[in-house]
Symmetry: C2
Subunit: 153 residues, 2 copies
């Protein structure tokens, strides 16, 4: 199988297949005489594994470990579960952070008339105006990494 067919069969783009190979997530593909990469059923399996794991939000680094465990017949399922639990925790933290943003934004937006006039509590908040009453700045201080979700492109 050439890379285009492997891409088709796995749902992973040819570009990404080469990338995964380059970073060592995927074993180096066999080569034909003409230099083209050649894939077999096992490679397709790995690509599908990677694809599914990416869809579940696992990072490439986590997938490297999961794939290693998958190949290890003597793996303790404990390790798989630990990786998954950590990932869930990470997702939940990011969800909570974003939900804090949404709450704050909805609150502000609900008080903005959204008409021709310039007065707007959203800008008031951003500009640091004294808020009318209860401060609503609890949106979560770390905008740091709340934004990275994989399958969104």
């Amino acid at each position: 199988m050439k890379i285009g067919e492997a891409a088709e069969a796995s749902g992973v783009s040819a570009k990404m297949i080469r990338y995964y190979e380059s970073i060592g997530l995927l074993a180096k593909a066999a080569r034909r005489d003409n230099g083209y990469r050649d894939y077999d059923a096992r490679d397709i399996h790995d690509l599908r594994f990677i694809k599914r794991a990416r869809t579940l939000g696992f990072s490439v680094e986590e997938i490297t470990r999961l794939l290693g465990l998958w190949r290890d017949a003597a793996r303790p399922s404990r390790e798989v579960k630990a990786i998954t639990a950590a990932h869930i925790e990470d997702l939940e933290a990011r969800i909570a952070e974003m939900q804090g943003m949404v709450s704050a934004l909805m609150h502000l937006a609900s008080h903005c008339h959204g008409n021709d006039r310039p007065d707007c509590p959203i800008l008031d908040e951003l500009g640091g105006a004294k808020p009318p009453q209860g401060r609503s700045a609890e949106a979560g201080r770390a905008a740091s990494k709340a934004s990275r979700s994989p399958a969104r492109g």
Copy 2:
């Protein structure tokens, strides 16, 4: 005010202040005779505005527009609200996506014993096994060539 003080006063790192200037989000800072950037109260205001907007998850591109509206006394609040609404929608879409991942992962994890044994529904799912019926010998088979991957750790 020098850049370090401006950073302190605004919560935006000196590195990011220079970056915001370089991409045009922030006006070019005044310079002292020695070449150092010099900031006044207005600059600090803008930096704080940016900081708050980042905390609410707005992208730099959105902040550019918000800051422009803030400076425009004749702005229609409609525009501010529209930017905010679009941002909320984006956040909600990402939250929903991640929540889907969490649901799937929790479901899988709840069926994983997490012990010394190798059988694990999480890997079964990633490996593409038929979900809850028989075939558990199938998954372990590939471990025969466990050492193929260069990626370790």
